[in-house]
Symmetry: C2
Subunit: 191 residues, 2 copies
Amino acid sequence: MQLLKDKIRNEGKVKDGNVLKVDSFLNHQMDIKFFNEIGKEFKRRFEGEEITKILTIESSGIGIACIVAQYFDVPVVFAKKSKTSNIAGDVYTHKVQSFTHNRIFDIIVAKDFLNPEDKILVIDDFLAKGSALQGLIGLIQDAGATLVGAGIVIEKGFQGGGELIRNMGVRVESLAIVDGMTEKEGCIFRN
Amino acid sequence: MQLLKDKIRNEGKVKDGNVLKVDSFLNHQMDIKFFNEIGKEFKRRFEGEEITKILTIESSGIGIACIVAQYFDVPVVFAKKSKTSNIAGDVYTHKVQSFTHNRIFDIIVAKDFLNPEDKILVIDDFLAKGSALQGLIGLIQDAGATLVGAGIVIEKGFQGGGELIRNMGVRVESLAIVDGMTEKEGCIFRN
């Protein structure tokens, strides 16, 4: 998606430790007009697929997922990152490793909101090593729901998560795949 | 907002400890069509006000804020709940007490995304004792930005936060104000 690559080139910042900061438009400040372009693009890519629900994970996936959901006319469910007193006991849960925050946490979805008849599109802002996406796929499998595919805004192609998930037979559509990056040169995109 | 009160009556569940569970449509599963009705209502209430940005707080405010932002044609910034390695050093920060989770945490916004010329509408799902909203107002004041008002989906009127914030001279528009609730009888709404 050329518009996304342009925004990453113009506004993104590469930091130590393979961190790509896109917080001026994607995951801290959120450019809602641009999110609508993302929504249109995912709709184009998943055209003809039956989708009943979008699943994402807090926090930075939520805004994108909500705007994207308008193009599919479906509700969004977000997986929570730890058990809170507001979540009932009946939940699906998986362990996820965050390399950004260097810790392991539980992701949780109430059983009420994932059903065997659901056809799920997963939406998230980043795909790096694939741990969060694996966890979300695990929740969908536990519920007996159907995974239609995953729509990712930025895939860090050099971190292996995309290959891992695609090798599981999952359709992964990434709007930009970054094959490498340096502070000096910025991002190298896969064509 | 009658549609919201109906949804709370039909889908909400009152739990021990003054917890109102509305996770089937508001803050776990998210009814995006309904969020658009919320957006229209906040637009109606803040009609004629100049607003350049919406500020919310992770996680459950984000989805609502993104949909509402479409009616004001502005970007959204969400305050993060703790310092992560993806946030640069230059941040505004305030302490917030969560009574739901019984802890104190820091909320953080990068200085880049709140400016003195900004006219801010705060959006959040709940207003109870007002600690989160006070923190968000503090961030806006630190930035020298203008606070236009706060748009709240559900205010727990009996927990005092709304009174506290209104007494500070802040315009608070709540789409439903709950004056009391019991497991048996459900919510009592202020007219």
